[in-house]
């Protein structure tokens, strides 16, 4: 067949796959996954386990080693039959923790360790390299096999060139397939479907070739069995150590291969698919292995000596003239290789970008994380990673010479990936596993694998000098790569697997036992080991796991947002074209709802709520920490609120007090105005009445004079009242002008006594004084003080009911202050009235009104306040007793502050 036609067919096939992926991808984007939700797709995508190695290599393997090839199928079969044990838990944890790769799983389990992620990624990349080289080699071989017998054979480029082209083509293909866009869950529905298609192609191709061999060449099942029975192959010996080792290895590989993890855990959209796959996938493997032995036996019989047994699937139909069948076989092999490479490189690229490059980049440029979109960066990283991984594969192919048997290369990769197993299984079944333990196990195991299997695979003297092979590292015999610790005569593969995994497990266990997990590790450990308990608990709590209805979200939202929730849901439903119904739970809607809730309860809490509700993942430790942070902030906020509340209460109380005071003042003012009105109207009544009497005429004798006298005296009273009111208002406002001077107390009292003598001059009234004590000079406003004295003396003259009246004026001086007591010999003021006498218009009896309007003592009190002193009633004396206290020296007219203090 012409080489160009072959290339064309390959291209058409690839374009077809690409279209399949594209259509599915766009349907998925519209939320219509349809048949993708079928477990058939999931099972077929698992067939990625069967790579070109299985497709071509298994026949070669059978041709070389007989039934041993079955071990490669038996391991996965055991794992899937026992899916309940490991796979189910892996898938569950994968979804709970939003795991995106093996590196993610291990680093997440052991306390989100970046270092572990890096180590796992590096091991995966290194271990995958020979495996990818294997695919390149098989495609290259198949190309050259096809082109060998054509006229243009001379045109066919050399193996290395083909491999380069294949690697480049696969890189472009994978980049186109796998990095068109980013999915947070790292799911690729399109690719999974394309792989399922390829799975069908490779199964059909192998079954077709097998059927042709059995029925077309051997002549039926019976003769075929005879052929197998008579076949004698020297290498066909049963080595029990290899069987056990290989079954264990392939079982480990199916769990820990990055691409298997990708399709099995990451791409899993429904856990129940696993139950179906648990029998369907072994069945697929059985179908794939059914005709391996017949093809190998008939191929060995019919093909000339020296034919590469790895290519029998292709060369046998070709030799028998079955071009179309050969073409189908070629496409089967091509499918096997491409699907493996695509998924493997995508898985590795995810690890490289998520666990290697991005953490590093974010650490170097933390601003980038804040400044927004990392998409571009991530996609570029992935694309470069895909190219890089394929380049490494190509490099391995070139260095290893492309000569090794396919199976041998595949097993090297298996052994490398198997190093993840202790950390994975230990992580999900043993809470005691720690980061240090995992790290120790991984590093130890992979180092031994590299030393005993991977590096030697380049060939003796290629990387490790021949001398080391024969005498050991540093000349230490027990460090020979093929005979560690003196275990000579072991199969190299079994030797490597045994030592690497044993020491891996020991290092992991010891490291875990000897170190203590940090809190995050501890919590993650519980989350992983108790993955099922957590869900059971969540279900008990009423979260309908994984199948939340819009109603549940609405009721949650209503609890938080209140009425607004309904409005929001209605708007969203309208936007989805579902007016009048609840909106579909599309990712966009959920994101919007989460944002909405975040506005009320904080982003982390909202995320945790939505996640819980939809079982997308149970709450991670980071979520919890973030929730705690938010709670702390809210508590701080409410503490602040509480403080504000207290302050408000205090202010309110002050306001209430002020208000009460104002109300009281207002009442007092009303009472005062009412009093003034009364005090003004009373004299005016007399004046008006008598002036009308005067104008009416016809008066009895003397009435005119009497009326005139009364009018005069009431007018005087009115004037005095107005004077007093003005005086009081000036004194109360604190704007009074004080004339401070040095005044002699005795002389001031003389003036007062003189002035007061006008009051009831007729009565006999004695004033007893102590002139010695009055020898004092005061710095004060003398006129004001005299006013006070006059008031007190005339009050005594007015109200003292004793006859003869006696007023004693007692002066004392103490600590810069002077007290002047005025004590008469009357009945005094009743106790209940003593409190009131200094208030305005607080007159006691009719007798007390003898001239004043009831403002006298109020004015006295105000004057004393202005003079920096006080006036008080002295209870317990025989008669009425007032005490005036004032400073010897009034420094400054401190009226206002004195008033404030007095109030």
């Amino acid at each position: 067949m012409p080489f160009n036609l072959l290339v064309l067919i390959c291209l058409v096939y690839v374009i077809f796959l690409f279209l399949v992926a594209f259509v599915v991808e766009s349907r998925a984007a519209r939320g219509r996954l349809g048949f993708l939700r079928s477990p058939v797709i999931y099972t077929l995508s698992l067939s990625i386990y069967c790579t070109a190695w299985t497709f071509y290599g298994a026949v070669g393997y059978a041709a070389r080693s007989g039934l041993e090839f079955l071990t490669i199928y038996l391991g996965p079969t055991l794992v899937f039959v026992g899916w309940w044990l490991v796979l189910r838990k892996l898938v569950r944890i994968g979804r709970q923790q939003r795991v995106t790769s093996i590196a993610d799983l291990i680093s997440s389990r052991f306390g989100k360790s970046n270092l572990l992620g890096v180590v796992v990624t590096l091991i995966a990349v290194i271990a995958a390299t020979p495996y990818i080289a294997l695919q390149l080699q098989s495609i290259t071989l198949s190309f050259s096999v096809f082109a060998r017998n054509t006229p243009e054979a001379w045109l066919v480029p050399g193996h290395a060139d083909i491999a380069l082209w294949v690697a480049g083509g696969l890189a472009v293909f994978t980049i186109l397939f796998g990095t068109r866009n980013l999915d947070a869950k790292e799911q690729h529905h399109g690719i999974v479907t394309a792989i399922a298609v390829e799975a069908v192609v490779k199964l059909v191709a192998l079954l077709a070739v097998g059927s042709f061999v059995v029925w077309g060449l051997a002549g039926g099942i019976g003769p075929m069995i005879d052929h197998i029975g008579t076949a004698e192959v020297p290498g066909w010996t049963f080595q029990s150590d290899r069987w056990v080792g290989l079954i264990a290895l392939s079982a480990a590989a199916v769990i820990s291969l990055p691409r298997m993890f990708q399709v099995m855990v990451v791409e899993n959209i429904d856990e129940s698919h696993l139950a179906r796959a648990s029998w369907a996938f072994p069945l697929y493997l059985f179908a794939m292995s059914l005709f391996i032995l017949p093809i190998a036996v008939i191929g060995l019989e019919r093909m000339p000596e020296g034919t590469n047994p790895d290519m029998l699937v292709l060369t046998l139909p070709l030799a028998e003239g079955q071009g179309a069948l050969a073409m189908l076989a070629f496409l089967g092999g091509f499918s096997s290789a491409t699907s493996m490479v695509i998924v493997e490189t995508i898985a590795l690229a995810t690890m490289i970008s998520n666990n290697l490059v991005m953490p590093l980049w974010l650490r170097l440029r933390p601003a980038a994380a804040l400044s927004g979109d990392l998409r571009g960066g991530v996609l570029l990283t992935r694309r470069l990673a895909i190219a890089g991984v394929l380049a490494l594969g190509f490099l391995y192919y070139r260095i290893s010479g492309g000569s090794a048997a396919l199976a041998a290369i595949g097993l090297i990769a298996f052994a490398g990936m198997a190093q993840f197993l202790p950390a994975m299984l230990g992580g999900i079944f043993w809470r005691g596993g720690t980061k240090i333990g995992a790290l120790a196990g991984l590093v130890t195991g992979s180092a031994i694998w590299a030393y005993t299997l991977f590096l030697p695979s380049f060939g003796v003297d290629a990387v490790i000098p021949a001398q080391v092979f024969s005498e050991g590292l540093f000349g230490l015999g027990w460090l020979r790569p093929r005979a560690l610790f003196g275990t000579e005569g072991m199969d190299p593969l079994v030797h490597s697997v045994f030592w690497s995994l044993s020491l891996n497990v020991i290092a992991f266990t010891l490291g875990s036992v000897l170190t203590f997990p940090d809190p995050v590790e501890r919590i993650q450990g519980v989350a992983f080991v108790n993955a099922f308990d957590r869900e059971a608990q969540a279900e008990r709590l009423g979260w309908s796991h994984g199948q939340a209805e819009p109603e549940a979200l609405l009721s949650l939202a209503q609890r938080i947002l209140g009425e607004e929730a309904l409005t929001f849901f209605e708007a969203q439903a309208r936007a989805q074209g579902k007016e009048g119904f609840l909106p579909d739970l599309t990712p966009e809607f959920l994101a919007e709802a989460e944002r909405k809730l975040a506005g009320s309860v904080g982003a982390a809490t909202a995320h945790a709520m939505i996640s819980q509700l939809f079982g997308r993942a149970t709450v991670t430790v980071e979520d919890l920490m973030a929730v705690a942070n938010e709670t702390a902030q809210i508590m701080e906020y409410s503490a602040k609120l509480e403080a504000k509340q207290l302050e408000l209460t205090r202010t309110a109380r002050q306001l209430r007090e002020v208000n009460d005071k104002l109300t009281q003042l207002s009442v007092q003012k009303d009472a005062f105005l009412s009093q003034i009105s009364h005090e003004l109207r009373t004299p005016m009544t007399s004046i008006r009445a008598f002036s009308e009497i005067l104008t009416e005429g016809d008066l009895p004798p003397g009435m005119v004079a009497d009326s005139g006298r009364i009018i005069h005296s009431e007018a005087v009273r009115l004037t005095r009242l107005l004077d007093d009111l003005l005086d009081l208002s000036v004194l109360e406002s604190g704007t009074v002008q004080l004339n401070l001077e040095l005044a002699h107390l005795g002389r001031m009292l003389d003036r007062a006594v003189q002035a007061a003598s006008q009051t009831r001059p007729e009565r006999s009234f004695e004033i007893r004084r102590d002139e010695m004590a009055e020898e004092l000079h005061l710095m004060t406003d003398a006129d004001r003080l005299v006013q006070v004295f006059i008031n007190l003396i005339s009050n005594a003259r007015k109200y003292c009911d004793a006859d003869p009246g006696l007023l004693r004026i007692v002066v004392r001086q103490k600590a810069g202050r002077v007290t002047v007591d005025f004590i008469d010999n009357g009945k005094g003021i009743p106790k209940e009235a003593q409190r009131l006498i200094f208030e305005k218009f607080a007159r006691m009896t009719d007798q007390m009104r003898a001239g004043g309007a009831g403002l006298g003592l109020a004015i006295v009190r105000e004057i004393m306040v202005n003079l920096g002193g006080t006036i008080s009633y002295l209870p317990g004396q025989k008669g009425a007793a007032f005490r005036v206290t004032l400073p010897l020296r009034l420094e400054k007219p401190a009226a206002k502050s004195a008033r404030a203090a007095a109030l």
Binding site: S674, S677, H678, R681, T682, M684, T685, S686, I687, R688, A689, F690, E692, I693, E696, M703, I710, S713, E714, T845, D846
Partner: protein, 122 residues
Amino acid sequence: MAGRVLLIEDEPNIAEAIRFILSREGCEVLVESDGAKALDRVAEARPDLVILDLMLPGMSGLEILGALRADSETRELKILMLTAKGQGRDREAAERAGVSAFMAKPFANAEMRAQVRALLEG
């Protein structure tokens, strides 16, 4: 205008003015200045009309009014309330307490005469 008027007023000059005005009209005017003695004075003098000042020492005009209205003997007694406070509140309180008429100080003498005549003759 004949009749006995008891004037309960603590301001001597106002009492004198009213006494003069009403006496000239033919009334017999008795004056009491102490609120505390007012009720005794009413019982003793049996006036046809009481002119009562609101603000009195001893017992306020409203208290005296209430006491007079509570007594069956004086329930129908004509009472003219005088006040210098001139506020609506006082007037309302007095009317509620059953005052016959109300007059604010200062008053016009003619008004006083007319009011007293109306009460005595009505």
